[in-house]
Amino acid sequence: MEFLLNTGTPVEKFIVMGIAILLFVAVMAIVLFLTDRPRMPQWITVLAFLGPAAVLVVFGLVYPAIRTIINSFRSDNGQEWVALANYGDVFGNSALRLVLLNTVLWVVLVPLVSTAVGLVYAVLVDRTRFEKLAKTLVFLPMAISMVGASIIWKFVYDFKPTERPQTGLANQLLVWLGFDSQQFLLTWPWNTFFLIAVMVWIQSGFAMTILSASIKAIPDDIIEAAKLDGVTNWQMFRSVTVPSIRPAVVVVITTIAMATLKVFDIVFTMTGGNFDTSIVANEFYTRSFVRGEGGIGATLAVLLFVMVIPIVVYNVRQMKLAEEQR
């Protein structure tokens, strides 16, 4: 077993990797082989298919989540039971209330703007000569890590006094247009909007790709019928395109909203949560691991769970609808 844990040379590492994959495949094969008999009770089959994933998820996600919920009722070092004191602290602190407000701004604006940009762009470049290139340009930010994207944009927003040579593109544009250079990341709420722009920049490509795929799937006969009715392009967009792709829009908004609630790299990298830009995911990290305020941190994590409830409820309803149609 020792060699599976201690790897020195690249070759050893690749061998261990191969063994890991083979081991995994072998275990799964045995489980499936053993359970795939005729007349096997249904629950055993369910267990075989669902069991491995369920065990991992319970161990790695459910248990830590429950632990966190319990910790949110305990003091910062986890020793004493403080009931709702942490929640009182969070809602009673104006800085933390602002963190909650910022998070709401993020979770509302990012999905809506990303989807809007993605949709408009998908429609505009659809079936043009440069479609492929145009789509790649917008999708590329998805392949860049959040940290990488944050570095790129921090550089765009870089500030130098008006009279000096600019190094940030945004300020250079302002100076060329005859304005003074600005501290983009300093003043609330503008700094939050400029950070949100980064997330929109990352997510729009995702929205664009999916919506573009759905647009292409709109049946031709619907389009043709509308054409015969003599609708304008705008009417076509509003009353044919958008309704046809509504389910895809819902999914795009949902997934982007989930990602936005969890994102912390952007704020962490670009402002460190300073200048009133912090959001729950970032504040949770700072409180728990930098300031040693575990109780407040856990409370913020629980609030994150709570914020996702509306999204889950909405999707459950959508799933039910889809189920009925099946």
Binding site: G8, F59, L124, V125, D126, V138, S145, N233, V263, S288
Partner: protein
């Protein structure tokens, strides 16, 4: 937190593509061409503005990564085109500047990424099959729970997981990283692949059942071939997420022998948070592989999304 959390599920509309390919007349072709385009000069302007906004920032950083440190600090990257001064020094510093061998961390990242893509997809496929085609009590509740688990932040799992890994004596090897990536990928992977599976016509499954096929046979012979594009699409996303991940690598793989590229770059470029010459070069080194993979596999990616969107 990651791109992985935004993997699509595309229950698009269900168009009837029953006519099959036939040659369109010129008039029809034109009608189809213009079917959704808002063709006006404004439309072109908007499209071009978006395209520029989405590519110029990256271009700026790319140009910056080749400029000498002193130039970066004193003038904008756009001045480069008037007075090009190219240096490899930044890349040199990033690749060879530290005490760790760059080849090693590159190997580590590959060794981490492959199992961290294969294992969760396999497990998620099986689980998604159970949710989609097996009947058992509490199925919908369980599925909603899995969906909701997407929101659990990785940070809260650090201490409980590390405690267990430590008890098992596997800290410092690749196993905790693989396991953790698998766990974090599962909710989204199950959710996504489940939606793809739901789009496969029930009649196909029923027909196989009538022929006496067991679940394993149905899974491998009927479903898997149909799911290949979806698997490829999710595989690309999971690959991007694992490759770009910093947090998991940092917490579970900080030991020198297993640390991935991102951890090493974070340490290197972070020593001075504003060393743009190192940050820009470092960001591009980290970006090369995922962007290349994405560009090469883009086709499959889009096809996978379409497979989810277009039933049967």
């Amino acid at each position: 937190m990651s791109q992985a959390t935004t993997v699509p599920d595309v229950p698009g509309p269900a168009p009837t593509k029953s006519t099959g390919p036939r040659k369109l007349t010129k008039a029809e072709q034109r009608a189809v061409d213009a079917k959704t385009r808002l063709s006006s000069p404004w439309a072109s302007v908007i499209a071009i503005v978006i395209a520029i906004l989405w590519s110029v920032p990256t271009l700026g950083l790319f140009v910056t990564s080749f400029r000498p440190e002193i130039d970066i600090r004193t003038s904008g990257w756009w001045t480069f085109f008037g007075d090009p001064a190219v240096t490899w020094a930044n890349y040199d510093a990033v690749l060879y500047g530290g005490s760790t061998n760059f080849i090693d961390v590159f190997v580590n990242t590959i060794v981490i990424t492959l199992p961290a893509v294969i294992i969760p997809i396999t497990l998620a496929l099986l689980a998604a099959y159970a949710f989609a085609w097996l009947d058992f009590p509490g199925r919908n509740m369980l599925f909603v729970a899995v969906f909701a688990l997407q929101i659990v932040p990785i940070q809260i799992t650090m201490i409980p997981l590390l405690t267990q890994y430590n008890n098992w004596g596997i800290v410092g090897s690749f196993w905790p990283i693989w396991l953790s990536h698998t766990i974090f990928a599962l909710p989204l992977a199950i959710f996504l692949l489940h939606n793809f599976m739901m789009d496969i016509p029930r009649s196909l499954i029923e027909a196989a059942r009538v022929d006496g096929a067991g679940h394993v046979k149905i899974f491998f012979q009927v479903l898997l071939p149909l799911l290949v594009p979806a698997i490829a699409a999710f595989g690309i996303f999971q690959f991007l997420w694992v490759w770009n991940d910093l947090l998991v690598g940092l917490v579970f793989g900080s030991a020198q022998e297993v640390a991935p590229l991102t951890v090493r770059l974070a340490d290197l470029t972070g020593t001075r948070g504003t060393a743009w010459h190192l940050l820009s070069a470092g960001a591009f080194v980290a970006m090369v592989v995922p962007v290349t993979v994405f560009l090469l596999l883009q086709r499959y990616f889009v096809r996978g999304l379409l497979a989810g969107g277009v039933k049967g």
